[in-house]
Amino acid sequence: MNSVRACLFLVISIIAFNTLASIEIYEFESDEDERRYQSLITELRCPKCQNQNLSGSNAEIAKDLKKRVYKLISQGKSDTEIVDYLVERYGDFVTYRPPVKPSTWLLWFGPFILFSFVGIFLLWRTRRVNKEASNKPDVDREKLQQILSSYPGETKRTDDK
């Protein structure tokens, strides 16, 4: 029983140690800097593990990039300067907010274009349906009554229905 306990203790301490090891600890000059750091690393994307941001990734490259972001913040660089700095090295890929330029026009404006297409289509369709509704054949009610009364049997049958 004691050896089981010792084993468990060992396993738990190893897990605990690992969790500790994966957290980088940085000292910030102000709370504002720390807030900026946190928002930057959630907005920047890890180039290696492509579906994670820097804050969620433990890849070596993500750690290096976080270290660099920290360094740049301590050097007094602004958020845009830091993002530009990383984009200059890793391309637009590192940011989750791609800049508006010809190669990203489809990405930025595509949904709006699609939306307006749908809008135009719907508008066109409703207008057509309305037009059809107003194009009902003109019925001369008096004449209809006349015709119907000249066929008594027919009127009856229609009434039965």
């Binding site: 180039p47 290696k48 492509q50 490259i61 090295r89």
Partner: protein, 186 residues
């Protein structure tokens, strides 16, 4: 009117084919191949120790004619696969400069002693700072730097004889001075 209607009924089918075509054409794309932001830019400045000797290497001191800048490390298994190819290229007279990326100095020397050293010089980038400036996100990566110290190509992954022949060699040759005189054949 009927013609118009047929067209409208065909629209979903056409849209399906367009989407299928788009998805099919993207099927062969490797999402890990990122475009390098550094193409056409100068090799970033650095001042780093050499793996051999006491000198400090800089972007200026390694330049001269065009060279391959090969990012490698002993912890990178693919680098081992690539290494014999680099040895062969060095034998043919291709200038290769090593960038020992986030590695241990002693292990790196032992690795080159065991597998051979294809590098003219090896820059030690223990902290990964130069790697970061280059936009390296893994090893191996190989850059072709021309005689003006400008990055003209980035190859991610292993250099093989096949991709050397088909892609890297022509770029390397055209990046050199006096291309006609010193062309690397085969």
């Amino acid at each position: 009117m009927t013609k118009n209607k047929t067209l409208i009924y065909l629209l979903p089918l056409l849209m399906f084919f367009a989407l299928a075509g788009l998805l099919f054409s993207s099927l062969g794309n490797d999402p890990r191949l990122l475009p390098s932001a550094k193409l056409g830019k100068m090799l970033p400045d650095f001042a780093l120790p050499s793996l051999y000797g006491q000198e400090t290497l800089t972007a200026e001191s390694v330049s001269g004619d065009a060279f391959l800048l090969n990012v490698w490390a002993t912890w990178c298994p693919s680098c081992r696969v690539e290494h014999p190819v680099l040895n062969q290229l060095a034998e043919k007279g291709v200038d290769i400069i090593g960038l020992n990326y986030k590695d241990d100095e002693g292990e790196a020397r032992a690795y080159l002693k065991q597998l051979g050293n294809p590098y003219k010089v090896v820059v030690r980038d223990d902290s990964g700072d130069l790697g970061l400036d280059l936009g390296v996100y893994g090893a191996p990566e190989t850059y072709i730097v021309n005689s003006d110290n400008r990055i003209v190509y980035r190859h991610v992954g292993i250099v093989t004889m096949e991709n050397w022949q088909s892609t890297l060699r022509p770029i390397y040759n055209s990046a050199r001075k006096n291309t006609t005189l010193r062309e690397v054949s085969q």
